[in-house]
Point group: C2
């Protein structure tokens, strides 16, 4: 029996998020457990690093499971993919320490939120990019962005009803980048890239919603004031899931 | 009554191509005629510049129709889009000469075929990029590519069973470009961009299939030899529809 660490990419559009759920539609964990269980010929649990929400995507989700059959390390991704739908792809697999756990051992994560600011939402972006139709003042979104960095109580950016011991998290870096689309040169999109030791429920999407409301002139408070208020009502709306991608998990 | 020229973008994945068909699934023309007919409150024909196949996409498809209600030019795209599914978007509309016809007046078209050459097909590319798993020798695909330019009989690159008067077409330019994906820097894709006065049935996809078979070492004949043979069997396979996008129509 070998503990295997895998890196997984998925288009979350058609799924009810990562986590196994009863009486709902398919989840990513569900599809992965089915695939791995077929290889092992016995029901096998897959532990994921982060429980992405319904509609959220991943480029570098990490998971681990016990492999009970002899498959060479380099063939594991192909073996798993042959049992997966095309919108979930395992692109890396490696042997891990017997006690490695994708979730408990994770030291941090990096997310990307993609948005555009066009009169029309491109059909090529429909699944992965959130388009804002009204004009955004990108500079207003940038101003004071680095305030998010460091160790703060982020309860202003935490969805109500979540039950965690503490709302204190450390953000290592946050940046808002303008990207030219490689397909049609005329198109521009924006990426909010954020990296931290952990994220509260909906935290990235509420941060993005706050940036957008500042860009629209609906919020005038500084990010510092919003953080310090520890009040969810001071922050912006929860930006839609479809723009969010889990890029990487750190160990 | 005003003749309106529109530019339309669509994700062809869910459609049976452009052209109206009986007893099949939805088509792009079908959806556009429904939308425009609802605005006009009477059944209205929409003429498209090119009949894209099932699964083929468009960034700059052009069409025209008679507008019978007074809508300001700049509001036409929003009015049409409000009646369309999100995977079809009209992004431009302008008044045209009364005798303008999107198909008969077209002087040429530009297409892009997107492909990648990775061990795994990225979930973010699933709808628009064709992935080749075996290693491609891109230089072999490039060699002699300019032979396609000019006026030639392209019957080697014409799907069997098509009924046209002549297989002679003029290619103005053809290029194979390496593009870095703007989202994940580690990813590369290739674009074949081809521009000509007209294209035979499946012509771009057969040209791409021929390039790919040269890249795989399955075809050793030069493009010149294949063109001159006027023999469909000398060319490669028909590359999948999903990689193809109609970029622009010239008038």
């Amino acid at each position: 029996m070998t503990n295997i660490k895998i890196t997984v990419e998925y288009d979350g559009t058609e799924y009810c998020g990562w986590q196994l759920q009863e009486n709902t539609g398919a989840t990513i964990q569900n599809k992965l457990e089915q695939a791995v269980s077929r290889l092992n010929k016995t029901q096998t649990r897959v532990h994921g690093a982060g429980r992405t929400d319904s509609g959220v995507h991943a480029h570098g989700q990490v998971a681990n499971f016990e492999l009970k059959v002899p498959i060479p390390e380099e063939n594991i991704p192909l073996a798993i993919n042959s049992e997966l739908p095309p919108d979930i792809v395992c692109h890396k697999a490696q042997k891990a320490d017997p006690d490695f756990h994708a979730r408990y051992d994770a030291r941090g994560k990096k997310y990307c939120y993609r948005f555009s600011n066009n009169r029309f939402c491109s059909v090529f972006d429909l699944r992965f990019v959130y388009n804002i139709y009204q004009k955004l003042e990108i500079e207003n979104m940038q101003t004071g962005l680095s305030t998010f960095c460091g160790r703060h109580n982020f309860s202003s950016f935490e969805a109500s009803g979540s039950e965690v011991n503490t709302s204190v998290r450390t953000i290592n870096s946050i940046k808002l980048e303008r990207k030219e689309n490689s397909f049609f040169n005329s198109k521009t999109e924006f990426h909010l890239i954020i990296d931290g030791d952990g994220f509260l429920y909906n935290m990235v999407r509420i941060i993005v919603g706050t940036l957008i409301e500042r860009g629209l002139g609906k919020i005038n408070s500084s990010y510092k004031e919003i953080i310090e208020s520890k009040n969810r009502h001071q922050a912006g709306f929860t930006a839609p899931a479809k723009g969010l991608t889990l890029l990487e998990v750190y160990y």
